[in-house]
Symmetry: C2
Subunit: 80 residues, 2 copies
């Protein structure tokens, strides 16, 4: 079994109100030096066998279809 | 400026219905070999200056207070 991590983040040009709310809250709670926060999703995908090229291509297709919205989100894959 | 990534995942013993729904959908869409999916949150925290020990301790405290629910979630930090 192999674990592939898929990180999904909003594209840089897309406004991130959740991230902005966290910066506001961190100021009020006294956390200093926080310039910006961006919130995204992390998926841990456990697949049968090794994570070879074919398996990674399959997870990439799955990310494009199920895990990310390619219009407003970017994603990256890595084997852990 | 430095970027600290905070990954927040449900504790292993906590049921992940979102992850289970994704496995079901991936089967129906013909993605083979997906054994399990766990969904979590990823935060990119931009901080002023370098990410030294003191700054990382601050982000860790912020993660414990604002970004994760320590009762049901684990988190990890890394500098990117």
């Amino acid at each position: 079994m192999a674990r592939v991590v898929v990180d999904v983040m909003l594209k840089p040009e897309i406004l991130d109100p959740q991230g902005q709310a966290i910066v506001g809250a961190s100021d009020r709670l006294g956390f200093s030096g926080v310039r910006e926060v961006r919130q995204g999703k992390r998926f841990e995908v456990e697949i049968d066998g090794e994570a070879g090229e074919a398996e990674l291509a399959e997870v990439r297709r799955m990310a494009e279809t199920l895990l990310a919205n390619p219009v407003i989100e970017d994603f990256s894959l890595r084997v852990e």
